[in-house]
Subunit: 490 residues, 4 copies
Amino acid sequence: MEEAPRFYAHPFDDDKLKEECGIFGVIGVTDASNFVALGLHALQHRGQEAGGIVCHDPELGFNSARRFGYVRDNFTSADIMETLPGPLAIGHVRYSTAGSKAAVIRDVQPFFGEFSMGGAAIAHNGNITNALALRKELIERGSIFQSSSDSECIIHLMARSLQKDIPDRMEDALRRVEGAFSVVAMTRTKLIGVRDPLGVRPLVIGKVADGWVLSSETCALDIIGAEFVREVEPGEMVVISAAKGVESRRPFRPQPSKFCIFEHVYFSRPDSIIGGQSVYETRRRIGVELAREAPVDADLVCPVPDSGTPAAIGYSQESGIPYAMGIIRNQYMGRTFIEPTEQIRNMGVRLKLNVNRALIKGKRVILVDDSVVRGTTSRKIKEMILDAGAAEVHFRIASPPTAWPCFYGVDTPQREKLLAATMSEDEMREHLNVDSLRFISLDGLYRAAGEPEGRNNACPQYCDACFSGEYPVEPSDMVAKGFQLKTAAE
Amino acid sequence: MEEAPRFYAHPFDDDKLKEECGIFGVIGVTDASNFVALGLHALQHRGQEAGGIVCHDPELGFNSARRFGYVRDNFTSADIMETLPGPLAIGHVRYSTAGSKAAVIRDVQPFFGEFSMGGAAIAHNGNITNALALRKELIERGSIFQSSSDSECIIHLMARSLQKDIPDRMEDALRRVEGAFSVVAMTRTKLIGVRDPLGVRPLVIGKVADGWVLSSETCALDIIGAEFVREVEPGEMVVISAAKGVESRRPFRPQPSKFCIFEHVYFSRPDSIIGGQSVYETRRRIGVELAREAPVDADLVCPVPDSGTPAAIGYSQESGIPYAMGIIRNQYMGRTFIEPTEQIRNMGVRLKLNVNRALIKGKRVILVDDSVVRGTTSRKIKEMILDAGAAEVHFRIASPPTAWPCFYGVDTPQREKLLAATMSEDEMREHLNVDSLRFISLDGLYRAAGEPEGRNNACPQYCDACFSGEYPVEPSDMVAKGFQLKTAAE
Amino acid sequence: MEEAPRFYAHPFDDDKLKEECGIFGVIGVTDASNFVALGLHALQHRGQEAGGIVCHDPELGFNSARRFGYVRDNFTSADIMETLPGPLAIGHVRYSTAGSKAAVIRDVQPFFGEFSMGGAAIAHNGNITNALALRKELIERGSIFQSSSDSECIIHLMARSLQKDIPDRMEDALRRVEGAFSVVAMTRTKLIGVRDPLGVRPLVIGKVADGWVLSSETCALDIIGAEFVREVEPGEMVVISAAKGVESRRPFRPQPSKFCIFEHVYFSRPDSIIGGQSVYETRRRIGVELAREAPVDADLVCPVPDSGTPAAIGYSQESGIPYAMGIIRNQYMGRTFIEPTEQIRNMGVRLKLNVNRALIKGKRVILVDDSVVRGTTSRKIKEMILDAGAAEVHFRIASPPTAWPCFYGVDTPQREKLLAATMSEDEMREHLNVDSLRFISLDGLYRAAGEPEGRNNACPQYCDACFSGEYPVEPSDMVAKGFQLKTAAE
Amino acid sequence: MEEAPRFYAHPFDDDKLKEECGIFGVIGVTDASNFVALGLHALQHRGQEAGGIVCHDPELGFNSARRFGYVRDNFTSADIMETLPGPLAIGHVRYSTAGSKAAVIRDVQPFFGEFSMGGAAIAHNGNITNALALRKELIERGSIFQSSSDSECIIHLMARSLQKDIPDRMEDALRRVEGAFSVVAMTRTKLIGVRDPLGVRPLVIGKVADGWVLSSETCALDIIGAEFVREVEPGEMVVISAAKGVESRRPFRPQPSKFCIFEHVYFSRPDSIIGGQSVYETRRRIGVELAREAPVDADLVCPVPDSGTPAAIGYSQESGIPYAMGIIRNQYMGRTFIEPTEQIRNMGVRLKLNVNRALIKGKRVILVDDSVVRGTTSRKIKEMILDAGAAEVHFRIASPPTAWPCFYGVDTPQREKLLAATMSEDEMREHLNVDSLRFISLDGLYRAAGEPEGRNNACPQYCDACFSGEYPVEPSDMVAKGFQLKTAAE
C-alpha cells in the first residue's frame, strides 16, 4: 500500500541465513548522529537493505532520515548529517526480506510515535512471534498501522498504555510481546536498551567520553573509539540519561538465557566479542573441532570466502594441511546487482567468486564453509572447483545441518527449502556430488563456543532451534498459520 | 572546461599505488556488450572511478555509454544493456586521478572517432609519455581536443594519417607515441589489440564459443567462461575479425621486454596468470623469500587485508609462525565515501579496518603488507594494533622501497611524498615507530617472480623503475617539466 | 519528523491567495488511475506542490503513489501508471504551505487506513477548524499521527468509530469535525463524496461511459470527456458503487449554504461552471460592474495576466476603452524556481512578467487585477509600467479589499500582512503611489456572481469572510491560539 | 554515438513551426552567467529542449554547463551558478529536433574549442545550408566531430584557419559557410556577435551598467534591465571588449537584407521590438488587415491561445465583434509530457486546451490562429468547439499558407506534410470542415509588418520562403539530397 523505491535490487542466491537488523544508539555527545552513522557502518553486515537515524536536539526537536542502501552512501555527506543535529540519536540497519514484497521506506526503522508526554523512537532487532495477533487486536481497537513491520506493534502498544512516562509505557508494551528482541529506543532525554528474557539477540553497553552507547556488537564500539562496558543482560532494560547514567530495570520474569548460537557461527563480525568470547576465536576452534571430528587426507584447505576463513585456518592448523586461497572473492561485488539482465543474473556465483585455477589444478581440496542452507551455492562452487581441475573436493561445514527455520529475527527459507530438512548427511553428499561432506556436531559446536562439556540437552545453553528444532519460545503466529513443530518422534 | 559530475567521491588515503585502467573487448558473440560488462566487472580492481562501453551492430551502428561508478551499478540493467547491441564491443574501466581536477565524463574511455572510412573506438591502459608534446603539435595543426586524456592523441593522430584503412592508421599513430600502452580498439568489423614494444602493461587473448576476447587479465576470461589462448606479445598488434580470426602484425622495432613487476606485487588479481605464472603463487613466494631474508621471533603473522594475504600465508608457512586474521576489513566500505563530513573523513583507516582485539592483545605480531608508499596508512595501522594491546609490531613489506614515481599508467604521488625517496629503511622504521621494518630485496622479488638468478642488472627482466629509478623509456613530457632523472651518483 | 524532499522550491511572491487542494475520483472504468491523472492535471491550478493517487484492483488490492511536483511530470509515464491498476481510484493535488516548514511526502494525500473491515483512502479539500483539539484528544487516547495534516484526524476518527461499515464510520467521523471540507474517499468497492453543511468548497458529479466521477470542478470533467451530472449538495454524502450507482445521504443538520465567493474571483478555472454559472462570465461581469462603479479616462485597459484577463475584457467592453496586452507573461516561468541564487530571487516579478514597452509608452493605462493581498506585486508592476514610460497608471481590482485571513482551506498571510487590514483604500492608493486605485464593492461582486439584489447582509449568500470578517463557522483552533474575531464595532 | 538522456520527452503535436535557438552573451559585469541565465529564461520560447552556458574568469579560466530542460530548472541554483564564475559569458537555448534521433548532450551549445592562441566558445542561431559538404571535407582532412550539429563546422574551420587571432579566424570560417546564422561567441577577453549577410535571424546589442549585451531579442534585455542600443546589422561582426567597447567589422560582401518575416508572425515574443517595430503591434495589425480582407458575420472573436491573441484583438477592434476567451489554456501543460501512457498521448490537444463551453454554446465563433502547418491541431480545435455547441466556426489565419519548408534554422515538417503544399485554400477548408477558412495575403502581411506598399516582388523586403518558395540562399545540402526547388511554372 505504498510506492516501491525507484530501483529495486535483485539479491543473488548466496544461500546464507540473513540477520535482519543491527541497532545502535548514543547519548551525551556532540553530533550524536555522526556516531550513529559510524556505528551503523560497522554493523552493516547485519542489514544491508536500508538504514535510518532518529535524533533529538533540545532546540530543534526530533529529526530523522531513512534511506535504502548502504550507510556509507546515505549517511556520510555533510548535507544529510547537518539535518540530524543533537546529542542523542539512535539508528537501525535492516536486511531486505525482498522477493515476497517490494521494499517500502515506511518499513524502515527507527519508528517514531508522538505521545501525549512527548515523542519516542524505537529500533528493534529480532522478531515478535505474536505480532499478527497483536496487530489484529490493535486495529480492532482503532490503531492505524503505517508499515508491515512487526516492530510497529510496540509503538501502538505504548500509545495505548496508561503509564505516565515513556519507559514505563515501554515496559507495558514489551510485556505483551513474545519472541526475540533487542531494542534501542529514545525519548527527548533518555536512551533506552532492552533485551528479551531469553537474550536471544545481542546488545552491549559502551562508554565514549562523557556519553553512553548501545550497540548490537562490540565491533561498532571500536569504530568510534568507545570502551566496552558490559552486555545488557537477558531480560534487562537500561535507561540511560545524561543526569543519572545507566539505570537498570527488570521488567520480565527471569528465565534461563538462550543466546543465538548462529551469531557465533555466522551473523556477528569476527572482531566482535560476545559473552566474553572472541567470535573469531570461536570460529577458529570450530575448524579445530572439525579437523578432529572429520579428518581427510588432502593437499589444501581453502575457505569459501569470506565467512569460512577462520574455521579454515583452524582446520589447517589442527590437520597440518596447508591453508590456501583457492577461491578469490570479487571485492566490487555488492550483495545485489541493480536490475540485472537475464544473462548476468544467470552468472550467479561467478560474479562474486572465481577459482584460483593455477593453485587448484590437480589438487585434493578441502573447502570449509560456514553453513549449508539450500545447497545451491555449494553446488556451484563445487562445479567451479572441478572445472578448474581439482582432483578431489571435500566439504567441511562449520555448523550442524540447518534443518529448521528461525522465527527470531533471521530470514530463513521455508522448511521445505532447507536441504537438511529433507536429506540425511549422506544424501546431501550425493546431492552435492562431492568426495566427502561433513558437518560439525552440535556438541563440537558447543565446545568451540565455550562449553567444554558440550550441549546440555536438558536445558541447552544456547538457542539452536535452526539445528535442533527446539524452539525456546513457541512461534505462535506461525503455529496459527499451520507450521508444524517438531514432534517427540523427530 | 566541462561540468563536474553531480556527486564526486572523496577518496580515502589508503596509501596504495593505483593502476589506472582495465580494458576488455570481444568479437563474434551475441550481445557482446554483456560479455564486456562481465569482463569489466572482473577488472574493476584496475579502475573504480568510471567505465565505458562502445559496441557496433551491423544495423544499428555504433552505440556507447559511459558512466561514473562501478560496473555492477551502471552496466547490469536490461534498460542500459539493450541500448548496446551487436556482436562486437570494447570497454574500459578507469581509476580516478581525482584531487587535482574534477572528474569529467568526457575523459571516460573508450574514445570514438568518425573517420572518412568509418568509425573506430579505442580504449587504452598505460600512459603516453610524450602526450603533451603531441597535443601541442596537433592543436597547432587544427585538431580540437575534447578531453584532457593522453589517450585522445591516438585518435587525432589516426585522423591525420594518410593510410586507407583503420588498422594501418593505428599503426601510423602508435609509432608516434612513446611510453607504455596496451590498447583494445574496434572498427565496424574488427577487434584490435596492441602492446607497446616493452610490453609494460598486460593484454591477453581468449576464445569463447566462436568469438574472440582481449582482456587486461586472465581473471576476466574466467568470468565469461572463455579459454585462455595466449598473451599479446610486446610490440605485437593483433587484428581479429570473424572472417579471418587472429592476424598478427609487428608495427614496432623489437626491444627487450620490460613487464611491470608491480603487476605481480599488487595491481593484478591473485587469480590471474601472467607470463605463465600464477600471481597468487608469486605473492606467496614473496612471503617465503621475506621470511628467509627477514626472520623475526613472534607469535602471529597477520596480513594487512586484503592485498597482504598471500605473502602473509607464505611467511607463515616458511617461518612456522601461526597465520591469523589480526585485522578485519569492513566489507561494506567502498573505495570512497560520498562527500563525507569532516568527522567521518578524519576516521580514516578505521572505517575500513578494525583490529581483532581479543586475538592481538599481548601478542608479538608480524604485519605483512604489499608496499609502503607515503607511510600514512602504515602508521595508523600500527597505532590501532598497539591500542589493542600488541606486545610488539614487526612490519614485513612484500616489495622493495618505492622511491620513484611511475610514468607508465600508474597513479603515484610526487617523488617528495614517497617515504622511501627521502628516508633510509632505518629512518622509515623510526618514523613508523615499529619494532622492526623490513622490505624484500629487489633480487628476492625477482626470484619470487620466476627469475631464479634474481635481477639482471645489465638488462633487467622487468620494469622496476618505481624501485630502481631506471626508466626504460624516458618520460619526456615530465623531463620537459623539470623532473630529475636518477644521476649516476644515486 | 521526517526528511525533507531533496529539492525544495522557493515560491516567488506572486501575492495571491492560494487554494490548497483539488480532489478527483472515478469508479467503474478501466484503468481508473489514468482518468484521475488527467483530472488532476486539469485541477493543477488548485495545488501545484504535490499530488497523489490511490487505487484499488480486485486482484491486486490497494496501490498508491505520491510525488512532489506537477501531475504532468509524475503521473504520465507508463512506468508509474502501470503500478496503479484497477477500476476505482481517487487523487489529490495540494498547494504548498511552504516557508514555515519543509514539505514532507507523508503530508501528501490521499491518506490511507487499514480498518478491520478493509482499507479506505480519503482526499480532502478545505480545512478542519477544530483539528488541533481533535488531534490532542486522539493522541491522548492512543492514536499515532503520521502527518501534520489536519485531514489525518478524519482517518483516526474513523478508526475509532464503532460502526460496521466504512461509509457509516465516515459519517461518524465527519460529524465530529468543524470547518470547510469537500471529501473524495474510496473503499474497495465504493467511491464516496461529501461536502460540509455550508458547502464552502466545490464538488461535482460526472458520468463517463458506465463510470462515475467526482471532481472539484467541471473543467476536469471536460478533459476526460465526462458529462456533468450535478453538484454534490452542501451537507450531502454520495456513496457510489458499480452496483447501485449514486446513493445520497444527509449526515448533517441542514444549514444555509455559504459557497466561497473567492472561487468565482480567482480560485476556479474560468472554463468551470459553478452553481450553474460560468466562472469566466462572472469575472467578465465583475469588469463590467467595475467600469460602472469606478470609471476613469484612459487610453488602454490591460489585464495583469492571466487572472485579470476576463475582468479586463469586461471593463473594456463597458467603458469602450481599447483592450490591450500591456504586460506579457513568460510562459516558461513555473510557480517556483528551484533554489534560486540571491540575484535571481531579487528579480522577483520580472522573471514572470515583462512590460510591452512599445505599447505602453506615453499611454494612460488601466490595469485590471483580481485582488490585492500584500500589495507587493502591485507595487512592482506599477514600477515596471512607469519605467516603460506610461503617462498614468490606474488600478482596478476585481474583488473587494482582502482584510481577513481565510481558515477554510486557503493559504492567506497573517492578518497584519494583509494590506487592506491596516490601510483604507485611499492609504493603499498612496502606498502603491498610483494615479487611482479602486476595488469592486461587495454588492457589485455579488451582482456579478448572480445575485441581482447584491449581498443579503442578514444572511449572506456566500462565504465572504476574507472581505467581511464574518466567519460562518467559528475557527475554534485559531481562536484558542488568540486570533481576534471581528468586534461589533468593526 | 553517445548515450541518450535518461528521460526523453514526447513532444505533442502542437502543429507549429519551431524556432531552433536563442542566443545571449554579456561582457563586463560581475557574475556574467547570472545575467545569461536570466536572458536565456526570457528567450526560452526560442528553444525549450536544452540550454548551455560557457563563461570565462581571468583566474579560473573557462567553465561550462549544459543541461536538458528549462533554464528555470537548470540555471538558477546557487550550486550550479557558483561553478560558472567570471565577467564574460555566453549562452544558448535550443529546440529539440526530436523524433528522428535521441537528443544528446554533446549537441547542446555553446561549442568550445581550444586553439593554440587560447579557447573560444560559440553559440549559433540559424542553419548552415552547406554543413554536410563542409563536414565531409573536414573529416577527410582529419577533423574529428563530436556532435551532429551543423554549428560544429564553424569551430573546425576556425581551428584550421591560419589567422593569428580568434576574431580573424572566425571571419575566415564564416566566409566558408552558407545559410542563415546569427552567432554569439567569446574568447578570454572578447564578446563577438555576427549576423549573416542577409540578416535572416535577429541579434541586438544592449548596454547594462559598464557592460555590453548581445541577445536574440530585446525582451531579454528588459529582464536584466539593459538598455537597447541597436541591432547588429546584416553582414556585420561586432567585437566587444572591456577596453575598446564595440568595434564593427564587415567580413562579407553586402547584399539586400532578408529578415525572416515569420519572426513577426510567431517566433519572436510580442514584447520584443524588431527593426524598430513592436512585434505585438505588427500582430495586432495583422488582425486588422485580416478583418478587412476576410470579414464574416459572427458573435465572438476568439484567439487560439496564446499566439493568436494579438491578431484576435486586432480583428475584434476592426470588425466590432466582441473579443472573448473561448478556449482556455492549461497553464501547467509544458511543451511535453514525460513518457506518457498511450491513453494520455491520445488526449492530444485536450491536455493543453479546453473550450469555455458556457460561452461558446450556440454562438458563431471566429477563431484566430497564427498559422496552419499540418492542420492536425486546427481539426481538433474545431471538433472541441463544435462538441461544445458552437453554431458556426470560422478560421482566420494570421499568416499566408505555409507551403514550403524552412532551411534557415526553423524546424518544419517535410514538404509533403505541409497542408498548404498539397491543397488549395478551398480544399483546406473542406479538409478542416469549417464554415470558412481564410489566410492573410502576402501583401497584407507585408503591410502589417511595416511595408505600406506590400511586398516588392522583384526583391522582397523579407525572407518569406516558407510562404513563397523563394529561397534567398540555395539550400545546397538539401538540393544535393534531392529537394526540388520551385520551378518557374509554380
